[in-house]
Symmetry: C5
Subunit: 354 residues, 5 copies
Amino acid sequence: MLSFIKRVSKKTGLPPGSLIHVGEKKTEDVRIRVIDYDENEISERELASPDECLSYKDKNSVTWINIDGLHDVSVIRKMGDIFGLHPLVLEDIVNTGHRPKMDDFEDYIFITGSMLFYKEEAAEIVSEQFSLILGSNYVISFQEIEGDVFEPVRERLRKGKGRIRKRGPDYLAYSLMDAIVDGYFIVLEKMGEDIESLEEELMSDPKTETLNKIHYLKRELISLRKSVWPLREVISLLSRGETDLIKENTVIFIRDVYDHTIQVIDTIETYRDMVSGMLDVYLSSISNRMNEVMKVLTVIATIFIPLTFIAGIYGMNFKYMPELEWHWGYHLALSGMFVIGVIMYAWFRRKRFL
Amino acid sequence: MLSFIKRVSKKTGLPPGSLIHVGEKKTEDVRIRVIDYDENEISERELASPDECLSYKDKNSVTWINIDGLHDVSVIRKMGDIFGLHPLVLEDIVNTGHRPKMDDFEDYIFITGSMLFYKEEAAEIVSEQFSLILGSNYVISFQEIEGDVFEPVRERLRKGKGRIRKRGPDYLAYSLMDAIVDGYFIVLEKMGEDIESLEEELMSDPKTETLNKIHYLKRELISLRKSVWPLREVISLLSRGETDLIKENTVIFIRDVYDHTIQVIDTIETYRDMVSGMLDVYLSSISNRMNEVMKVLTVIATIFIPLTFIAGIYGMNFKYMPELEWHWGYHLALSGMFVIGVIMYAWFRRKRFL
Amino acid sequence: MLSFIKRVSKKTGLPPGSLIHVGEKKTEDVRIRVIDYDENEISERELASPDECLSYKDKNSVTWINIDGLHDVSVIRKMGDIFGLHPLVLEDIVNTGHRPKMDDFEDYIFITGSMLFYKEEAAEIVSEQFSLILGSNYVISFQEIEGDVFEPVRERLRKGKGRIRKRGPDYLAYSLMDAIVDGYFIVLEKMGEDIESLEEELMSDPKTETLNKIHYLKRELISLRKSVWPLREVISLLSRGETDLIKENTVIFIRDVYDHTIQVIDTIETYRDMVSGMLDVYLSSISNRMNEVMKVLTVIATIFIPLTFIAGIYGMNFKYMPELEWHWGYHLALSGMFVIGVIMYAWFRRKRFL
Amino acid sequence: MLSFIKRVSKKTGLPPGSLIHVGEKKTEDVRIRVIDYDENEISERELASPDECLSYKDKNSVTWINIDGLHDVSVIRKMGDIFGLHPLVLEDIVNTGHRPKMDDFEDYIFITGSMLFYKEEAAEIVSEQFSLILGSNYVISFQEIEGDVFEPVRERLRKGKGRIRKRGPDYLAYSLMDAIVDGYFIVLEKMGEDIESLEEELMSDPKTETLNKIHYLKRELISLRKSVWPLREVISLLSRGETDLIKENTVIFIRDVYDHTIQVIDTIETYRDMVSGMLDVYLSSISNRMNEVMKVLTVIATIFIPLTFIAGIYGMNFKYMPELEWHWGYHLALSGMFVIGVIMYAWFRRKRFL
Amino acid sequence: MLSFIKRVSKKTGLPPGSLIHVGEKKTEDVRIRVIDYDENEISERELASPDECLSYKDKNSVTWINIDGLHDVSVIRKMGDIFGLHPLVLEDIVNTGHRPKMDDFEDYIFITGSMLFYKEEAAEIVSEQFSLILGSNYVISFQEIEGDVFEPVRERLRKGKGRIRKRGPDYLAYSLMDAIVDGYFIVLEKMGEDIESLEEELMSDPKTETLNKIHYLKRELISLRKSVWPLREVISLLSRGETDLIKENTVIFIRDVYDHTIQVIDTIETYRDMVSGMLDVYLSSISNRMNEVMKVLTVIATIFIPLTFIAGIYGMNFKYMPELEWHWGYHLALSGMFVIGVIMYAWFRRKRFL
């Protein structure tokens, strides 16, 4: 979010709708891939220039244009011209880090949000912004980088599995949203595993490092929550079916995605509760431990202080100290100290000081 | 919830409505039991195959089909085909761990949630997912395992006690919901007993283990709350009587179940307050105890330190120390120390340090 | 609430509307008292059997039937038969511990909740469940035990003071609700006094027992709040005047009761804030005190430790220790120690360690 | 609030609308002052008896009757008779401590709440209850004591400054409400000054007394908040302009008062945040200080303990201790101790223990 | 806010709409600048007196009058007369520190709020109140001081860049609001940098000063939040397009500003969470450190206390202490002490006390 703030503030003073890509340039080449299909046929191409999209605009088939890379502003502007997109929409597309939102412009719907996925090879969670344009016969998806959670949707399109080829672009948009929400589940699963291993660590051997990990998880959950809550609203708006672009029989599927989003939020809340609980456990276990240590140390000191006092007494140099003359005086003194020590120890035990 | 997340993420990439049972396989055999009744007659059978359900579909009597075990996806799909259930409904049925929800598909209502019951023999709380389909003349209930909270309903059906045989499937569905909510009460009673015994333990002899139990209860209550809150919404939706499947005179009974759900939620909140209070009491009692211990130990040390100092003085080896030569010097020194010790003790007492 | 849970779970498996009294049997005899009045006349009787109520059912005068004791289920069932009450209403009447609620069954209104009163002789707060049935020409009130907050209402009826004799049963029902809410005020006054005396105790001499009292008050306030909040909703529903049973000119009086309920809630919230504040004050005063004690003790120890060290030095047995030979060596050493002690004390003072 | 509770509970058992003044008797005489004006003329009188009000009832001019002192119930009842006020309104007027509220009785509006003002001479904040009756051609204001925030309004009336003389009683009522809310601002300013001086005290020299002051402020803010929140609702209701008694062109002024009330609430919230922050700062500064003290003391003790041990060694009486015979043994021992002490001190420093 | 309270309380007793500037006099001269433009022409002038505005009132072109400095009340009143502004609006304009609000007076809209900007040269955040009047063909903006965030808007007007010259005054007002919200982003960016550098400081070397900085940031965020929340409402009201003064095609731009405001609020919330987290980290790290120090010190003391005791034993002056006579007694004693010390150290290590 911080980075978004920085970027917006850089743009200050420009007229609204100015297209200046202010995100990180995450990929070298802008890639435009088109999948065009109807129930019977499917064709997949990579376009060299956005102008080629024009031919798909008025076709009867469903066209899915996917654009990877947002730094080449001219491409985005060209797309905007061809499909008649509002300048503010184009601005939102290139301004990565935007809050999830939906806007309904009668002939198309604009959706933006963040997409999370887990890169197996790098063992890291990648987050990027996506934008969707749903028109009467096309879907345009924008992403910052190549690599996404849409691969299974492409697979299904290619194989003609399920309903996907028989339905219109609204069903395609739903499928993409569904894939995005599924991506959250995978990330949550990853986090759940982290929480579980942290809990074990907490039980067996809590360290300062454990605390840092807990704080880190907590912050990650906060930021995740911040990006899912508005997404929930977006999908809720879609599921009300107030737009003609989304057909009656697709609404129930979108409601299903909505249910999943709720479940994501529930899980995040549960995780937050768990992490808070872990924090409490950590703090109280640390302070318990500390208290135990201090108690043991103080008990040791307390036992020896009176003994040292007795030794001090017989170390005095008075002329007339009868005990000093006794033959068994030394042994009596030692035994006395021993007895006192044992009694004190026993007393502390019984009082449950130890 | 964690487990649900894991399961969903395993399914990622499949088209919506794919029927893959991703829960634990909790029981060996899928059992299909049918109770078919009207005001006069009742028959109870166990079906070998889901196809036999077909014959009940258009009968005038009320049919209750109960299916134990969700791992055999073909059975679920078959049921879906016979009763015309939406693929997403079937998906929700087999995806155990789903958030409670209700969907109204004009010719049937779909309800899912979790069912809790207390297994006397094993002394453990069992949780499983249930799903209900309420149609115009049938109710289908799905559960993960055999053994449920529905036995009293079956008893009433068999004996023809009360209204149950005279009413339609909506009243049967209500009876099942009522039995499920009653199950929550039993589990809450169990928890209430645990809380009471924990409170006694807390008062008499708090241990670290007590803290763990409190944390455990707290977490259990959180998860219970998470599953009851959406159930409340589900029942509230049902009680509005907006569907033709639920008759006017059944609505008041559903509102009664709703009242019970509210009471369950109230009780959970009360328990949470109690458990939080217990946590506070535990922490402050532990820290109080620790403080007491440290105070006693420090007082002991503080009394002896000046005495040791006096002994140190008369242990010095100066040539001319007049007191050393006195005949009663030693006894005077001892008496002096004793007096000082008593004075300090008395002072600490009066200052309420002890 | 706990007790309610226990009772409900005992009933599990019975059909809805089963009348089994599951509360404590608080009184020996079921007493049925009837006050029948109009503007001119009033008669007061005690009935031997519920059947005698029948004669009042169609009279033009206003009839108030008050029933003390809920354990004789046959009486309740008989009343239900005579006045045509729904089985679920009867169930709610005998199930003590129910959450306050209101149900509008066109020809009568059912209200239930808890009634608090302060028994002067026993110096204890008594809580019992009440239920009211408001019909077109009668009010039936059910209570668990004899002794209630309704006596002033009876007095006013007998003396014909105020509006009460000129108005219908809706005004009577309002008067009863008003008496119940007034009962809350008395209990709150009692609690207010407890809080004030606790505060004084807290200021003058906080003990562990004080903490227990605070925790006890806190919990009592939570449970009070739990029973008043839904009562507020009940009265709010009544004050909307959506039922014909409550006449236009009574609605303003009910709104007055509503205002009082809000005031009760406000007072409870204020008390909760005060009690929380007391808890904070208690904890910080205890920890302050503890800190003071530890500081004093540590300062004492810290002053003597260097002095003991000096004594230790001159207790060493080196052959050549010139100071030991000096005639005033001993006195110099003592003076030195004294000076060091004073300087340390002064330094601690100036540094505000003491 | 407590006092209100006490008073209400004293009235328990009386019929609603019973006029028994249960507040403190704050002033000796009931004073009835009348200001009667239109655009051209103004007359100001003090009435001997409420009956004289009758003559103003049907005059065309605007009449403002102000009554100081509520303990003479007969006066209030007389006013009620003359202006046709509902018994519950009269009850609310004499029951001081009532929650702010508004009631619309078609021919008049009743408003009650608390009025705060700062008495310069006594340097104290005075709080009393006010009630306003706004009729078609009159405003009646009731207060517990003489002395109020209305003087500037009277001044403006007398001098004919601004709109006030040209407008009707609704504008007068607005002016009175405005004066009351302005009174809150003055009190808030006073509190703001207290907060600022407390903050300085907190920075320069925090004492236990500071803590008490913070707790006192916190509680005062809570009680202030409790009386302003419902006032906000009252003014919001008025500003909706749903009554004919408030003319179109006065509504915008009432909305201005509403804005001021919001600002009062905002300020109270800000103050609460500030006071909470001060509490945190106080507690952490106290605990920091305590920690510093304990650390210094422990470091002193820890440095001397090993040195005392060394002195102890050379105080042992073994026959053959070569060091004791050395000529420089004593000086070596002293130097050794000094060096050890310095090293420990340096080590503690470097480790930032000091 | 405090300062606003002070100012309002100074005005107490004046009739509403009294124009007395009660803010700080932030600038010497009142400057009136006019930019008058249509699609083809633009003229920019500085007016000597407000009367000159009259000529712009009925021109067809769009006029933007910007007034710097609010202390000369006669100017504000003159403007009010010319453009027919309501007295309360004028009062709100000169009363700096007002809560952001919007009022719709059919022929003009009044908007007020606070404007933040970062003065590069002084390295400080400046906050001042702005007010906007949007009429059918003019926009009037009032500010306390010269220097603002509107410069880029003027630039765009002059250069005729973008849509701004082709649109009406509503678009101009939007551009100004947009510039104001952009100003918040810049301030947030500044704060974000402060947070980042504070976090580094917290990690590397936390000091008491760090705590103060955290508290300061926290308070700044609270006050920022207080001024943005009502601004959000204001813009939300504008974006509903319920007024004729804002044209259909401008509404979408206002909704964009609304989105930005939400993002500002989100960022503030995130910052608050981060700052709270930092506070927790600080406190726990400080207390951890303190605990570590105390533990080390106590361990040192605990190791030496038993050793000192042994030295004390052999310092006793008993006649018959066989060990004293042994030739190697001294060395044995020393070795024994060494061994005991090492064992204790090792034990503490293994027990993880160190």
